[in-house]
């Protein structure tokens, strides 16, 4: 995993603990409208993939238990993990590409609503992604995966040789000779594993994405509505298809790339189609990147324009993230796939406690504030969600007070303590289990293991009803809030850096 060379340790702090009364009158715990509905408070659990679905994409008991647990902390909204809109195998990720997925998802929405006693709204994040393969064995790559061309024969100095002969000779080349003989993309497939781009328009299924995706997203949004979700979040962020259309690296020449308008075209068409599917009175929003944080990628200037256009297109909320791209990901081991949170852009997305001067808390605040201001200046009231290392009351409250955003999201702090909103609201902020931002959870995610938190996954493993990971080492779900507990695991109560 890449991290800043400065390696400055940043310590999260509980900050000032508000009294119950102060919390009650705070911005954080005041309601906010999202299109036709209202959140009771401006707290938000953004989408996290906890690797608990079946390999066929169905909701499991583990999924139900997981989100039920978050709902008992009663945040304003929970966004269910990135859920695939296609009906294709995608490993243990939730799917919504067919009506047969609706009953499981319906159980999930019911669980969130009942576990929060109706206080929490539940949204679902809809995602499309392109093919990425595992890094191959070198031999396998040359014998099976590489498509032999005349360019290879020329590089080998013999245009007449058979494919089989070319494969054998290529496999025998040294690393530096290989670099001469293969194209940049072939070299990438060898060293990282094959990865599709939205610019691979020589492939039918890539060229036709603009005609296919609006319908797929719209159908998925319709299913989400019928499964009882309170709203839909379109995934336009990180390393996935829609973000790749928005990217400056999208050079498609079919009207869906190049200029800002071209890159926005498909994302706007997806919004139009999804809106048509769910109707005007249903919350529809998106999550997208304030900055791609890669060479040649989209900048904040792009994101400002995108945000205004998304608001103009009638989205009911806009949520920001940053980085998380494949372009600068670390080389995976043989047999593993590249993971978009291992390079510098990945660090921007999920910064760890070992950081640079700026630190891991609130790296996306200033960019988000600029996007929000541009949206307001254009005359739209679309609420904006900001996330990224926000973990205490003053931090959250100051973001709202300073008009950086309208809703405060926290993934890792919510994972560490799903009751942290409830604790703050009830004057028990001193008992919050504070995230240490070690990214232990992200390590598990990278290995596609069930995601848990180091602060609770070894607690009370023998207690009745505790569900364990398949290897029996960790509990799957955070323990319940023990209200007799008076002290916190947190060490400090200094003021936050967000005053």
């Amino acid at each position: 995993m890449w991290r800043p060379p400065q390696r400055i340790r940043h310590q999260p702090t509980l900050g000032r603990i508000p009294s119950k009364q102060e919390a009650e009158f705070s911005r954080l715990f005041s309601p906010i409208r999202i299109g036709p509905i209202s959140l009771e408070q401006r707290t938000w659990v953004p989408a996290m993939v906890p690797w608990r679905a079946t390999t066929d994409g169905y909701v499991t008991e583990e999924v139900i238990e997981w989100y039920g647990r978050f709902a008992r902390g009663r945040p304003g909204a929970i966004v269910i993990e990135a859920t695939g809109i296609r009906d294709i195998p995608s490993g243990p990720l939730l799917r919504i590409g067919h009506d047969r997925f609706i009953p499981g998802l319906q159980r999930l929405t019911e669980m969130v609503h009942t576990s929060s006693d109706g206080h929490t709204k539940v949204f679902i994040q809809l995602i499309d992604f392109l093919t990425i393969r595992r890094r191959p064995q070198r031999n396998q790559f040359f014998q099976r995966f590489l498509n032999i061309t005349d360019a290879h024969r020329r590089a080998l100095g013999d245009i007449a040789i058979s494919d089989a002969e070319a494969r054998t000779r290529l496999a025998a080349l040294s690393e530096s000779e290989i670099e001469q003989a293969l194209t940049a993309r072939e070299l990438e497939s060898l060293r990282f594993g094959y990865r599709e781009r939205v610019t691979d328009v020589d492939l039918d299924h890539i060229r036709s994405l603009p005609s296919i995706l609006p319908g797929l997203f719209a159908e998925a949004a319709r299913r989400a509505k019928s499964a009882g979700f309170d709203g839909v979040e379109l995934h336009y962020a990180h390393a996935y298809t829609m973000a790749s259309f928005l990217s400056r690296k999208n050079t498609r020449e079919d009207g869906y790339g190049g200029s800002t308008e071209g890159r926005l075209r498909l994302p706007l068409e997806v919004i139009t189609a999804s809106r048509k599917a769910v109707g005007a009175d249903y919350p529809l929003g998106c999550r997208y990147l304030a900055e791609e944080c890669i060479d040649g990628g989209s900048t904040l200037e792009d994101a400002v324009q995108f945000g205004v256009e998304f608001a103009r297109a009638g989205l009911d909320f806009i949520s920001t993230s940053r980085g998380g791209k494949f372009d600068d990901a670390k080389q995976p081991g043989v047999g593993a796939a590249a993971y978009p949170y291992t390079g510098p852009s990945g660090y921007e997305c999920m910064p760890q406690f070992l950081s640079d001067e700026r630190g891991p808390f609130g790296r996306n605040v200033a960019p988000t504030a600029r996007i929000r201001k541009a949206i307001r200046d254009a005359g739209f009231e679309t609420p904006v969600v900001c996330t990224g290392g926000i973990h205490n009351f003053d931090m959250a409250e100051n973001l709202l007070k300073n008009d950086a955003c309208d809703i405060v999201g926290s993934a890792r702090q919510s994972l560490a303590d799903p009751d942290w909103f409830l604790k703050l609201a009830s004057g028990a902020g001193g008992t919050i289990r504070l995230c240490e931002f070690t990214n232990y959870c992200e390590g598990l995610d990278q290995k596609h293991k069930p995601v848990t938190c180091q602060l609770w996954d070894h607690l009370d493993l023998d207690a009745p009803g505790v569900r364990l990971t398949p290897d029996g080492r960790r509990r799957m779900t955070p323990p319940e809030w023990n209200k007799s507990e008076k002290t916190s695991v947190a060490k400090s109560t200094e003021h936050s850096a967000f005053d």
Partner: protein, 111 residues
């Protein structure tokens, strides 16, 4: 960059650390474990697990030799992600100094 396993591990080889590592980056020699520096994500969860405090952040002083050793052997020894019984005489070696002379470059059992 990473956490590394140092001298105290030699001949003790308690494997409490491997159970908690989220990314399975421990590798096993005949009488010591090492961490793969490129796979370690710096979460630090393993550090307090070690009964003999053998795991250190590489920012601690005078660890170059151990960083080199971890880097070298993590590439040749087998991965270990499940706890196993420590050596029968592990306790006796806990407080012994200068165990480096007893270091074995042979890989651990892969059973």
């Amino acid at each position: 960059m990473t956490y590394i396993v140092t001298e105290s591990c030699i001949k003790c080889k308690y494997t409490d650390c491997v159970e908690v590592c989220p990314v399975d980056c421990f590798y096993e020699g005949e009488n010591m474990l090492v961490i793969h520096p490129d796979e370690c994500i710096d979460c630090g969860v393993c550090e307090p697990e070690c009964p003999v405090s053998a795991i250190k952040a590489d920012t601690a002083p005078d660890l170059e030799r151990w960083l080199k050793l971890n880097t070298q052997y993590s590439q040749v020894w087998p991965n270990i992600s499940t706890r196993k019984l420590a050596a029968a005489d592990a306790k006796e070696w806990e407080t012994v100094q200068n165990k480096i002379e007893l270091f074995s470059s042979r890989p651990g059992d892969t059973d």
